[in-house]
């Protein structure tokens, strides 16, 4: 497979293959992508920790309004800094092979800005604002109305926030989620 000069031993690759949804070749490819973000640092230490701003240069994350949230959710130090394992984890969740439930759980955590395990009104507001790129075209009243309508639709137990069960319920019925929540390696 041409991994003689790679930074990984066969055992490490096998280990990653067992823990993610990737094949060995894809893992090496992912590492190449990771290395491209900071060639000298990663070339020196294959598991180097990159700062969030560095990781956000990855094209898909750069274009994504939730890029920083993604970094925070996948960061093992919880501050947005990403090691290669975190990166691999991220790409594995966003890959085609990952099942819907795994994707849904991470999506929930990405949208849960305050980390209280509920998507509340503030979280929804942030999500909407980020989706429209803080466009002032959509006023506060409009956003409030949108939030009210969302809760009306999806908040089954009327507690003013979306729990994971409710979120999963929406996702489960959606055929588009799995298409949109995906990043090609």
């Amino acid at each position: 497979m041409g991994q003689a000069n790679s930074q990984f031993s066969e055992d490490e690759l096998q280990d990653y293959e067992d823990l993610t949804y990737f094949t060995k070749k894809e893992i090496l490819y992912a590492h190449k992508k990771f290395k491209n973000l900071a060639p000298e640092k990663v070339g020196h230490n294959k598991n180097a920790k990159l700062s969030m701003s560095k990781v956000l240069e990855y094209p898909e994350l750069k274009a994504n309004p939730f890029g920083d949230r993604i970094c925070k959710v996948f960061s093992s130090s919880n501050d947005g800094d990403i090691t290669f394992e975190d990166f691999l984890d991220m790409m594995s969740v966003f890959s085609d092979a990952a099942p819907k439930a795994v994707k849904a759980e991470h999506a929930f955590r990405i949208y849960d800005f305050d980390g209280d395990d509920m998507i509340g009104r503030n979280d929804l507001k942030q999500v909407i604002q980020r989706l429209v790129d803080y466009n002032s075209d959509l006023g506060h009243n409009d956003i409030d109305q949108l939030i009210n309508n969302i809760l009306e639709e999806a908040d089954l137990d009327d507690d003013g926030a979306l729990s994971f069960a409710e979120f999963e319920h929406i996702i489960d019925k959606s055929s588009d989620f799995i298409n949109s929540f995906r990043i090609r390696l």
């Binding site: 823990l19 309004p65 394992e85 429209v132 109305q145 999806a154 994971f164 319920h169």
Partner: protein, 861 residues
């Protein structure tokens, strides 16, 4: 599972109430001690601490230390105590609640619970959290600290998950199957890789420990596991192969990054057809074309010289080559004399029919699956339109600033549309207005149908004029295909224009209607061509080859018109736009019209469907067409990609990608079905030409197959089975059974829909009850006076629910309120039993004093 649990939440809610009541009655001092456990569990260490940690705060208050000890004793190993399994604990609670609840006074335990609730009323949201956290798919309870933050220390997570996985027997066996399952399960845990690795190590250790205790496996089993392991390894290798050789990986990523997944759906469709055709080409090539080349041509016929024009017209040199039906031999041949013979006619017939049928099965299955996923299973999304727009709207594959801006703008406009639609009071359409729209629609439909009919008639006339003419030396062979393809492209635009004039209220309706019209047009053209060719077969010569040539021409001309010519037109449009368009600041009179050309997904996809239909028709008459079409699709892929990247602007309004793909699959299915019917007719009813082709010597194509069967002896099993199956009674019976099964399944699905609706209503009602109760309880617990109004409301709610055992909760609120009215007496005869309680609650409100009083009263009675 998770959703059932959501329904259960309310039940658990009551069940917990009961359990709490039971415990408290037996052990009044419980709460104070248990509170300490909740606080100090982290330092106590050992198996017990794990158990306690795993329980959410609310439960911690209630868990008796004795019970914990019991659990530890009963199960020996603290790591595997069932109390650590959140699901088990929930179910236990539920069961104990329903069983014990019958005997215990509901109102009493309810009051117990409410008093507890009052203590933690400032955290009342947290109780809800605990319920939802239990529903996380990792089946993991996260520990909540006192102030409601999540503590997710990885060490405790690892322990929880390991513990939980340890409960599942089939995961913990020491064999390759269980190991595979284990790997899959660990993969699906939503945690960091390091955590997963720890979990895996712990599990492996446990498995190993258990395995050494168990006896070694037998020889037979070892072989079986060995076989399974090889199968798993082979599957993984195959998967590896498929993922590593995904065609156009880079291009797909580029397209997705620039335009999102909805446009890439078209390219995926294209890629799918290409792969399908390549597979067909492989089989046709190896079973039909290659043997024919080996067998060599029939006799020394003088072949015509090759001209470049032949590539376009498919005549001349090509007409005698292996390209067409006519030049296939009807011999059986053998390369090494004395070995088995290879019968070309049988190979030809069987390869093509089996491939077509297999494709049909494949297309139907994938269509059925896509339909189920994108239409049936997502039918519930109709109620969640907005939430969908928010949650699923961002395309994570976008990797380009321009595309991201476009996406932001699209989302904004969608949200604005939604708001406008919500805020606008649906103005009742006037009778005249409705009449007008409907007339408009009817006129448009009639126009389109008339146009299609006119096209069909004209095409027939053109065919009559140029079809039978001997055009072996002229370009006139191309007239028919030029005419039909040109009309198709032109009428496609006319349909689009008409659709725009009609002004449908929903964009999706307009797109669908356009698509259907366009598809109808294509079907008509293909049907007319075929009807003409089949009805006016020349009496001499090889009509199969003639049809093959026509199809060849159609495919080639289609490529030049719809791919090359239209791309060139788009290129010119783009150049005009770049030179004179509004972007350059030159406000010419034409500037607003010089937009960059749109990339129209539906036209392109319909082109592919048309292409594929022609191919399926033609494969019987010209097998190498498969190769030709595969090559063509490859070119189309790159041409389209370049167009999209450099010339076109992505369409502003798009369909939902999954539904689009399903729709195209449906169209492919319909056309393939038509093709199969026609082929069936051809094989059974149309006599083959006598002078050429692999089937010469028989009257109909199917006879070749029938002769093969007839050669079998009368008593042969296959023959008997064949005769038996084709009896009308059997066929009728099969049809009848299928009808009954369909009816049954349909009725079942309807019943399930009704049930889901009922359950949803039930859930809403329960949620409302719960919310109402919680609000009232928190008010009471805060010591507020209960006004008459609240009492009325409670009575109202109670009056509404008169069934079920829990009613006394709701209909008997008086005990609580009675306390509010009753004069407060000092505690008399609290006794030794309640000493602990009085101590612990000395600082709490009068409410708890009342509760202890109640307890005493209960004990006395």
């Amino acid at each position: 599972m998770a959703r059932h649990r959501a329904v259960l939440t309310d039940a658990t809610f009551h069940a917990e109430v009961n359990e709490v009541g039971n415990q408290r009655r037996h052990q009044p001092a419980a709460s104070s001690v248990a509170m300490d456990v909740g606080g100090g569990s982290s330092d106590s260490g050992g198996g017990g601490s794990i158990v306690n940690k795993s329980l959410p705060e609310e439960d911690k208050i209630e868990v008796l230390p004795e019970e914990t000890a019991e659990a530890r004793l009963g199960h020996g190993d603290g790591l595997y105590a069932p109390a650590g399994n959140p699901l088990a604990s929930v179910e236990d609670q539920f069961q104990s609640g329903t069983v014990g609840g019958v005997n215990v006074s509901f109102s009493q335990s309810f009051r117990r619970w409410s008093s507890n609730f009052g203590r933690s009323v400032k955290n009342n949201k947290r109780t809800v959290y605990n319920k939802t956290i239990r529903l996380m798919p990792s089946r993991l309870q996260k520990t909540l600290s006192i102030d409601g933050d999540l503590i997710t220390t990885s060490a405790s997570d690892v322990d929880h998950i390991t513990m939980e996985l340890g409960q599942r027997e089939q995961l913990m066996e020491d064999n390759p199957v269980a190991e595979q399952l284990r790997i899959e399960t660990i993969k699906s845990i939503a945690h960091k890789i390091s955590t997963k690795r720890q979990i895996r190590e712990q599990l492996a250790r446990t498995v190993h420990r258990r395995a050494t205790r168990a006896k070694s496996i037998g020889l037979l089993r070892r072989y079986r596991y060995g076989a399974k392991r090889y199968v798993a390894r082979a599957a993984r290798l195959a998967q590896c192969f498929v993922t590593n050789f995904e065609p156009f990986y880079g291009s797909m990523k580029q397209i997705e990054g620039h335009f999102g997944s909805r446009i890439s759906a078209y390219f995926k469709f294209l890629r799918r057809l290409l792969v399908l055709n390549l597979v067909l080409a492989l089989f046709v090539g190896s079973f039909v074309i290659f043997p024919q080349l080996l067998a060599g041509p029939e006799g020394p016929a003088a072949r015509q010289a090759f001209q470049l024009r032949d590539l376009l017209t498919g005549e001349g040199y090509l007409s005698d080559s292996v390209m067409y039906y006519g030049s296939y031999s009807n011999r059986s041949f053998t390369l090494v004399p004395g070995t088995a013979e290879y019968s070309l006619p049988h190979a030809y017939f069987l390869t093509i029919t089996i491939l077509l049928l297999a494709t049909f099965v494949f297309v139907s299955v994938s269509m059925g699956r896509a339909y189920r996923i994108s239409f049936i299973e997502s039918s519930a999304t109709v109620q969640n339109i907005l939430t969908h727009k928010i949650v699923c709207s961002w395309d994570y594959g976008i990797a380009n600033g321009k595309a991201a801006r476009l996406k932001h703008a699209t989302i904004l406009s969608e949200l604005r549309d939604y708001l406008a639609q919500r805020n606008r009071t649906p103005a009742p359409l006037g009778r005249w207005q409705r009449l007008r729209t409907e007339t408009l629609n009817a006129v448009a439909h009639a126009t389109v149908l008339a146009l299609i009919a006119a096209v069909a008639a004209c095409l027939w006339a053109v065919l009559d004029r140029f079809g039978p003419a001997d055009h072996f030396a002229a370009w006139s062979a191309l007239y028919v295909s030029l005419a039909s393809n040109g009309t198709m492209a032109a009428l496609g635009y006319v349909c689009q224009l008409l659709g725009r004039l009609e002004r449908y209220r929903h964009g999706a309706t307009q797109l669908n209607i356009n698509l259907l019209r366009h598809f109808l047009l294509q079907l008509t053209i293909v049907a007319v061509l075929f009807a003409h060719w089949l009805t006016t077969r020349p009496p001499t010569g090889c009509w199969e080859t003639a049809i093959g040539q026509e199809l060849y021409r159609l495919l080639v001309v289609d490529f030049f018109i719809s791919t090359v010519l239209l791309s060139a037109v788009r290129g010119v449009r783009y150049l005009l736009h770049a030179r004179y368009g509004p972007a350059r600041g030159r406000a010419g009179p034409l500037a607003p019209y010089l937009t960059p050309p749109p990339f129209c997904i539906e036209t392109h996809s319909l082109g592919l469907v048309y292409n594929q239909t022609l191919l399926w028709f033609g494969v019987l008459f010209a097998p190498p067409l498969v190769l030709l079409v595969a090559l063509k699709l490859l070119l189309v892929f790159y041409v389209n990609k370049c167009e999209l990247m450099y010339l076109c602007q992505p369409p502003a309004r798009l369909w939902r990608s999954s539904q689009t793909q399903t729709l195209f699959l449906v169209l492919v299915f319909v056309s393939l079905f038509g093709v199969l019917l026609t082929h069936g007719y051809l094989i059974m009813q149309v006599p083959v030409s006598e002078g050429c082709g692999p089937f010469r010597g028989t009257q109909y194509m199917y006879q070749l197959f029938m002769q093969g069967i007839l050669k079998l002896r009368e008593e042969h099993l296959f023959w008997r089975a064949f005769v038996y199956i084709t009896k009308p009674a059997i066929i009728g019976g099969v049809l009848l059974t299928m009808g009954v099964a369909t009816y049954y399944l349909r009725a079942k699905s309807r019943a399930q829909i009704a049930k889901v609706k009922l359950l949803k209503e039930l859930l809403c009602l329960e949620a409302k009850d719960k919310e109402f109760l919680l609000a009232n309880l928190s008010k009471v617990a805060r010591g507020k006076d209960c006004t008459g109004e609240q009492l009325d409301r409670i009575e109202l709610v109670g009056g509404g629910r008169l069934n079920g055992p829990a009613d006394r909760y709701y209909t008997d609120p008086c005990a609580t309120w009675r306390y509010e009215e009753s004069p407060r007496k000092p505690d008399v005869g609290a006794g030794t039993a309640s000493a602990g309680t009085t101590n612990s609650t000395s600082s709490s409100s009068g409410y708890q004093r009342f509760e202890d009083e109640e307890q005493l009263r209960m004990r006395r009675t």
